[in-house]
């Protein structure tokens, strides 16, 4: 079949407007302002009228315009100033200051004034005097100016574009506006505080803080057994040995690290996010809770990995330590929930799961069949699953009619039933409430493991 005859190729596109060639940006150059025209018009009119009517007072009125304009235009710039924008810090903490440095160089031996107007993402609240300001540049100097604002929510935010315009000669000459493209600043999420004193099940790494089922050097007593060649003398239990007239030693369980896999359900977003100090949406709660759990376990030496259950299906390899914690926060900051996402695949996610014995923490609002199916599938596969409910308490469906409250009540009852069914399957479901909120359910998991 001829390609040109293919009817599919002759269909109109979604956007039938013809492609417009991008107009090249005008070079920055000096030009006169309306003020210069005004000065010339006033001076010329007054002088002409003085000649026409023979009025000396009109000459006097024109005098300051003539003198002032001549004084100001005595030295004029020829080359325009050069401006460059650099993102000083690629990332900052949520609630911290996101900034970019603007460098303006004035190559001319004339002082100029530079007016900077910056725009920013609506999650960046530009500081007063740091987003719209004017600075004086001395002749033949360069100056660094800071464009800064408070990042009110985690994520990648655009700082810019920044418009720079300079003027000289008291506002009689000005440059054309130079638009500098903005740069992306990453605001890392500030996790909630999370502290857990419970050990995790399946601790079978090298060295860590969780009680393992393997014997080794530790304080946790496993058994008292007969002495064997090779046992350390300091492990001899002298009291038991004296009672039984045979040598007995104390055997202890080792303490090891474990794998923690965080699964973030990012299929649905609900609730309006108010930023760092405001109400939290599902994505906010998911990211901050995951950050808190990840920080706790990664900093105590466990290997923490992350997987997205959503349109993008991103994955972060497991790791431990402070550097991995920072990488994890950066990964969490890039979380996005598109408006019309492709449906996430449970099978695809299960293929990404590595260690069968790692602890799986699923952060989900339990709002869709796929989310519930994922949690149930993991539990049925025998994986230890801890489900953190990230549905914010304040989120409710919009009021559409007088039936809305009843429908909401029915929906909440149905959701509670679903949670109970998951618990019957052996999944520990717990709403996120911050520090120590998961201790009880982790203890349940450990008890089930060592029963």
């Amino acid at each position: 079949m001829n390609l040109t005859a293919d009817p599919a190729l002759s269909l109109r596109t979604d956007n039938p407007r013809p492609l417009r060639r991008r107009t090249p940006e005008r070079p920055v150059e000096w030009r006169r302002t309306a003020a210069l025209t005004r000065a010339a018009v006033i001076a010329a009119c007054c002088l002409l009228a003085s000649v026409a009517f023979g009025r000396v007072d009109l000459v006097l009125i024109a005098a300051p315009f003539v003198v002032g304009t001549a004084l100001l235009l005595r030295e004029r710039p020829a080359r325009p100033p050069e401006a460059r924008l650099d993102a000083s810090e690629a990332s900052c903490a949520e609630g911290g200051t996101a900034s970019a440095v603007l460098r303006v160089a004035n190559p001319e031996p004339v002082g100029i004034t530079t007016v900077v107007t910056a725009a920013a993402d609506h999650w960046i609240d530009l500081h007063t005097g740091r987003g719209d300001f004017a600075e004086r540049l001395a002749p033949a100097t360069a100056r660094e100016m800071v464009v800064a604002g408070e990042a009110r929510r985690w994520g990648g935010h655009l700082l810019g574009p920044v418009h720079v315009q300079s003027y000289a000669c008291g506002g009689l000459l000005e440059t054309t506006v130079q638009a500098l493209p903005g740069s992306k600043v990453w605001a890392l999420p500030v996790p909630d505080w999370f502290e857990s004193s419970e050990s995790l099940p399946f601790a079978d790494g090298v060295a860590g803080v969780h009680r393992s089922r393997r014997l080794g050097d530790s304080g946790e007593l496993a058994e008292v057994r007969l002495y064997q060649p090779g046992d350390r003398l300091r492990r001899i239990d002298w009291r038991t040995s004296a009672r039984s007239q045979e040598l007995y030693v104390n055997a202890t369980l080792s303490e090891r690290d474990t794998d923690v896999t965080l699964i973030l359900d990012l299929q649905v977003e609900a609730g309006a996010s108010g930023g760092i100090g405001g109400p939290a949406s599902i994505a906010d709660l998911t990211v901050r809770a995951a950050g808190a759990v990840a920080a706790h376990y990664a900093l105590q030496g466990d290997r923490v990995g992350c997987i997205e259950f959503g349109a993008r299906s991103r994955r972060l390899r497991a790791g431990a330590g402070r550097r991995h914690h920072l990488a994890l926060l950066r990964w969490l900051a890039a979380v996005e929930i598109p408006d019309n996402p492709l449906p996430a695949s449970v099978e695809a996610l299960r293929r990404q799961l590595g260690n069968h014995r790692s602890m799986h923490v699923v952060f989900t609002p339990l709002l869709g069949e796929r989310s519930i199916g994922l949690v149930a599938a993991l539990a049925r596969a025998g994986r230890p699953v801890l489900c953190v409910d990230t549905m914010p308490a304040h989120v409710s469906p919009p009021s559409r009619s007088h039936w809305t409250p009843y429908a909401e009540r029915l929906w909440r009852l149905s959701r509670e039933n679903t949670i109970m069914e998951l618990r019957d399957l052996g999944v520990a479901v717990e709403p996120w409430t911050g520090a120590a909120s998961l201790d009880d359910v982790i203890a349940q998991l450990v008890r089930r493991r060592y029963r």
Binding site: V56, L71, L73
Partner: protein, 204 residues
């Protein structure tokens, strides 16, 4: 916004409420970001044109309500729109008022008053030239205001000196020969045209 069917009054009420809250947020944001120096410059522009308009006419006229309203209007226009045609219109109005007042009232005027009006007009013009690209939320370097003040001082002093020189030579306006006035006017016009022609030609 929900897609539930609403009555006309309910929808109108929702719209008004939304617009009111949006306007309140905008005003709050503007108030929070307001910068005193940029406001001060605009107040200076308005005050200069207002005082010049009041000085340009006799006291009876300046106290009348219509003229006060006109003076306030041109001053407000120049203060609110320093980048537009408002400062030129304000200057033109003041000069026209001066011409009419001195034409109709022979006792009004004199070189000191003309010098004061000239300096005030220039203060309004120069301050508007500096302010034209600033918004009320633009934070200003203090050196910008210092430079402007220094320039205005120099121009005011030179205007006063020029007025003094004129006063020396023209003790009585009536005694000026028309030829002298024509000569001064021609020389000044040529000077202005020369300076402007030089200034507009910026070497590359």
């Amino acid at each position: 916004m929900s897609d539930a069917p609403r009555g006309l009054f309910e929808a109108a009420g929702d719209g008004v409420r939304l617009r009111a809250s949006s306007a309140r947020r905008r005003v709050t944001s503007w108030t929070r970001r307001l910068v005193p120096a940029a406001l001060f410059l605009r107040v200076a522009v308005g005050s200069a044109y207002f005082i010049a308009a009041e000085l340009a006419v006799p006291k009876q006229w300046s106290a009348s309500a219509p003229y006060l309203a006109l003076a306030l209007l041109i001053a407000l226009g120049a203060a609110l729109l320093p980048a537009g045609i408002a400062p030129l219109a304000a200057s033109g109005t003041v000069i026209a008022a001066w011409l009419i007042a001195t034409g109709l009232d022979g006792e009004h005027g004199g070189l000191p008053t003309a010098a004061a009006v000239a300096v005030l007009l220039y203060v309004g013009h120069a301050t508007a030239a500096v302010t034209q690209r600033f918004r009320t939320t633009t934070a200003l370097d203090s050196e910008i205001v210092h430079n402007l003040a220094r320039h205005l001082g120099i121009v005011a002093a030179s205007t006063a000196a020029f007025a003094g020189v004129l006063a020396l030579f023209t003790a009585y306006f009536a005694a000026i020969p028309p030829a002298v006035a024509v000569g001064i006017g021609l020389v000044s016009a040529v000077t202005v045209i020369y300076v402007l022609a030089r200034s507009l030609h910026i070497p590359r």
